[in-house]
C-alpha cells in the first residue's frame, strides 16, 4: 500500500500519478497491480479499502468531484481546549461552529439526514464532527449514528475526534459500523503539545501543561492503534502552526503511519485577532502557501496526503467546497418531502460510477500521449472551476482557485485557494484583485473560462499569465497542453522561465460561509 513519493494512491484513475511514476505504461506498478491498464480502477489499494474510499469525498481526492457528505451538529461539548479555538464563536481550524450553528437532537439529525439524502442522491457520507468533540458527547453521537443506520443503512458513517476519549469507545464505534474516523493530532511531543493545548478534562480532573499534552498524545495514539487493528480507516488531521509544530509534523506523520493511519491531512492554521483565539490574540501567524506545500511534500513519503480539505463547517452539506446547508435549515426541512429510496440512490450512484470510469479511460489515453518528456521544470497554475474537472468559471466569479503542479508527470492537484474573503465586502474591485493575486502569487498562469480586460492586464503585470483559450475544456489536458507551449516559448527564447514567489493563505472567517 505504501507508494513511496506518490501521494495520490487514493485517486482513482490516478492517471497523472501513474504516468509520473512509470513514464509510460511499460513497467508494472510496484505493487504488481496493473494500474496503467485499469485507468478507472482501484489503484493499488486492497479491494476492501477501495470499497470504503471510492465514494468518500474526503478519503479520495477523486471521489470529491462526484460525492457529497453532510455533517450534523449534535455534539457541542468539548473535553479539551486548543489555542486555535475560541469556543465562544467558532473553531476556525477544525471548523466547528459553536453557537452559530443550529444544534440538533439525534432525532432531528436523523430526520435531516433523510431529507438531505432524498434531495442529494450522491450524498454518501454522514459525519459527526462537533462543533465540540463528538466523543465528549458519546450518547448524542452514537444515538445519531444508530438512528441513521436504521433508516439509511447505505450511508457511510464518519466520526471526527480529538482522541482524548477515543480508547473508551472503540467497541461502540466498531459495533455501529463507523468505517471512518478522523483524529486531530498536532503533536507527539508533550513539550510541543503544551504550547497548543492549555488544558484537558480527563478522569474528572483538569490537567494542564506538559502533563495534559502527555495524556492527550498517549490516548490519541492508543486509540489510533486500536481502530486500525480493527480495520477502521483512520485519517489524521493536523493543524500546521509555524514555529510551533511545523517541523514536528514530519515526526507526527511517521508516528501515525506506523500505527496504521491511512491518510494525513495537514491544514494551515487560521489565525486572526478577531476570532479571539489565544493564537489569534497573540499574533501567531499562519503558514504561507509555499510553507504548507513544502511540509505536505516532505510528509508525502510517509503516508497518503490529503490536499483537498476545505476545512468545512460542522454542519456543512453537499460537495466539498459547495455548502448547501442553507437549503436544509430546520424551517426548510419541515417543507421537504422525504422520499428515501435506497434503490434509486444506488441507481444514481451506479451511473456516476459509469461516467467516472468512462472519463478516466478517455483521460488516460489523452495523457499517455501528452506525458512525453517535458524535462524537469515544474510550475504551479491556478484554475477557475465549478467542478467536473473542467475550466468552467469566469475569473470574476471564482470563489476559489484549484492549484495544480505541472511537470512531466502531468497535472497534479496540490490544493485550493479561497478568495471569498469575508472582509471583502466593502472593498473596491481593485483591492479584491490584489487579494486574488496574493492568493495565487506562486502560480505561473491562471486558467479561466473568461476574463475582463482590466484584471487581465493586472495579472500580466503581476507575472501571472491569464489563459482563456481552453475555456470549458478538461483541466488536466489543457494545463499540460499549455505547459508544452510554455516550455516551447522558453526554449525558443520568447519568454524566460522565472521562479514565482510565495502566496498567502486566505484568512477569511469560515463562519461567513452560511
Amino acid at each position: 500500500m505504501h507508494r513511496g513519493s506518490s501521494s495520490d494512491a487514493i485517486e482513482d484513475g490516478e492517471i497523472t500519478q501513474s504516468i509520473a511514476e512509470h513514464k509510460g505504461c511499460g513497467k508494472s506498478s510496484r505493487s504488481g497491480g496493473v494500474r496503467c491498464g485499469s485507468p478507472a480502477g482501484r489503484s493499488d489499494l486492497p479491494a476492501e479499502t477501495w470499497e470504503k474510499v471510492k465514494k468518500h469525498p474526503c478519503y479520495s481526492e477523486h471521489a470529491h468531484h462526484h460525492y457529497a457528505r453532510m455533517h450534523v451538529a449534535v455534539a457541542p461539548a468539548c473535553n479539551i481546549q486548543c489555542n486555535y479555538c475560541n469556543r465562544k464563536y467558532d473553531c476556525a481550524n477544525e471548523s466547528r461552529p459553536g453557537v452559530v450553528s443550529e444544534r440538533l437532537t439525534p432525532e432531528q439529525a436523523a430526520r435531516k439526514v433523510m431529507a438531505v439524502a432524498s434531495t442529494i442522491p450522491q450524498m454518501t457520507v454522514l459525519g459527526i464532527a462537533g462543533p465540540g468533540d463528538p466523543l465528549a458527547n458519546p450518547e448524542k453521537t452514537f444515538k445519531t449514528f444508530e438512528l441513521v443506520h436504521k433508516v439509511a443503512p447505505d450511508l457511510k458513517l464518519c466520526l471526527s475526534t480529538n482522541g482524548l476519549a477515543l480508547p473508551d469507545h472503540i467497541d461502540t464505534i466498531a459495533k455501529l459500523n463507523v468505517e471512518h474516523v478522523t483524529i486531530t493530532i498536532n503533536m507527539i511531543n508533550p513539550e510541543i503539545g503544551a504550547k497548543i493545548y492549555p488544558w484537558i478534562f480527563y478522569n474528572h480532573k483538569r490537567y494542564t501543561g506538559v502533563q495534559a499534552a502527555k495524556i492527550l498524545t498517549d490516548r490519541q495514539l492508543q486509540g489510533l492503534e486500536m481502530l486500525t487493528r480493527r480495520g477502521i480507516l483512520c485519517k489524521i488531521n493536523s493543524v500546521m502552526i509555524p514555529e510551533i509544530n511545523d517541523q514536528h509534523l514530519v515526526e507526527v506523520s511517521k508516528a501515525v503511519k506506523s500505527r496504521g493511519a491511512f491518510l494525513h491531512n495537514i491544514m494551515p492554521l487560521i489565525s486572526s485577532p478577531n476570532y479571539g483565539t489565544v493564537f489569534g490574540l497573540k499574533g501567531q501567524r499562519s503558514p504561507t502557501a509555499l510553507e504548507l506545500k513544502a511540509l505536505q511534500d516532505s510528509c508525502e513519503g510517509e503516508l497518503h496526503m490529503m490536499r483537498h480539505c476545505r476545512q468545512c463547517r460542522a454542519d456543512a452539506i453537499g460537495l466539498l467546497g459547495e455548502d448547501r446547508s442553507a437549503e436544509f435549515t430546520t424551517e426548510k426541512l419541515a417543507t421537504i418531502d422525504i422520499k428515501y429510496d435506497v434503490e434509486s440512490r444506488n441507481a444514481y450512484q451506479a451511473k456516476v460510477e459509469n461516467d467516472r470510469a468512462a472519463k478516466a479511460a478517455a483521460k488516460h489515453a489523452d495523457l499517455v500521449e501528452l506525458a512525453v518528456s517535458l524535462g524537469d521544470t515544474k510550475v504551479l497554475v491556478a484554475v477557475a472551476t465549478k467542478g467536473s474537472a473542467l475550466i468552467n468559471e469566469h475569473f470574476g466569479h471564482a470563489k476559489e482557485f484549484q492549484v495544480y503542479e505541472l511537470s512531466s508527470g502531468g497535472a497534479k492537484f496540490i490544493g485550493h485557494r479561497r478568495v471569498d474573503l469575508y472582509c471583502q465586502g466593502g472593498y473596491a474591485e481593485e483591492g479584491k484583485l490584489e487579494t486574488i493575486i496574493r492568493a495565487i502569487n506562486d502560480c505561473h498562469a491562471v486558467f479561466i473560462a473568461k476574463i475582463g480586460g482590466c484584471p487581465r492586464a493586472e495579472l500580466i503585470k503581476a507575472g501571472v499569465e491569464p489563459v482563456d483559450q481552453y475555456a470549458y475544456e478538461p483541466i488536466d489536458k489543457s494545463t499540460i497542453a499549455w505547459f508544452k507551449t510554455y516550455l516551447d516559448r522558453v526554449t525558443n527564447g520568447a519568454i524566460k522561465h522565472v521562479e514565482r514567489g510565495d502566496a498567502a493563505i486566505r484568512q477569511g472567517a469560515l463562519i461567513s460561509a452560511a
Binding site: A77, C78, F201, H204, R206
Partner: protein, 74 residues
C-alpha cells in the same frame, strides 16, 4: 455552597451538564443553569467542581457568593 453559571458568558456548549454528579445543571430555553439546592460543590464526589473544570470559558461557573448561605459562612 452552590456554584452558579454566569449566563452572559456561557456558550451553551453543554459540557458541564453531564459531568455534574448531582444533576444540578439543566438547560432552559438554550441557557444553562445550576439548581442551588442540588449543587454540593462536588464535595464527596470529586476533587474539583466538575462544571468549573470542564467549562471552556474561565470564570463562568463560579461560587454564588450572593446567597445568604455563603455570606453566613464567610
Amino acid at each position: 455552597m452552590p456554584f452558579k453559571i454566569i449566563a452572559s458568558q456561557c456558550t451553551s456548549c453543554s459540557a458541564c451538564e453531564p459531568e455534574c454528579p448531582n444533576v444540578a445543571i439543566a438547560e432552559k430555553g438554550g441557557t444553562f443553569m445550576i439548581d442551588p439546592k442540588k449543587c454540593t460543590e462536588c464535595i464527596g464526589h470529586f476533587d474539583e467542581p466538575q462544571c468549573v473544570a470542564v467549562c471552556p470559558v474561565d470564570n463562568t461557573c463560579v461560587l454564588d457568593t450572593s446567597l445568604a448561605r455563603y455570606q453566613a459562612r464567610g
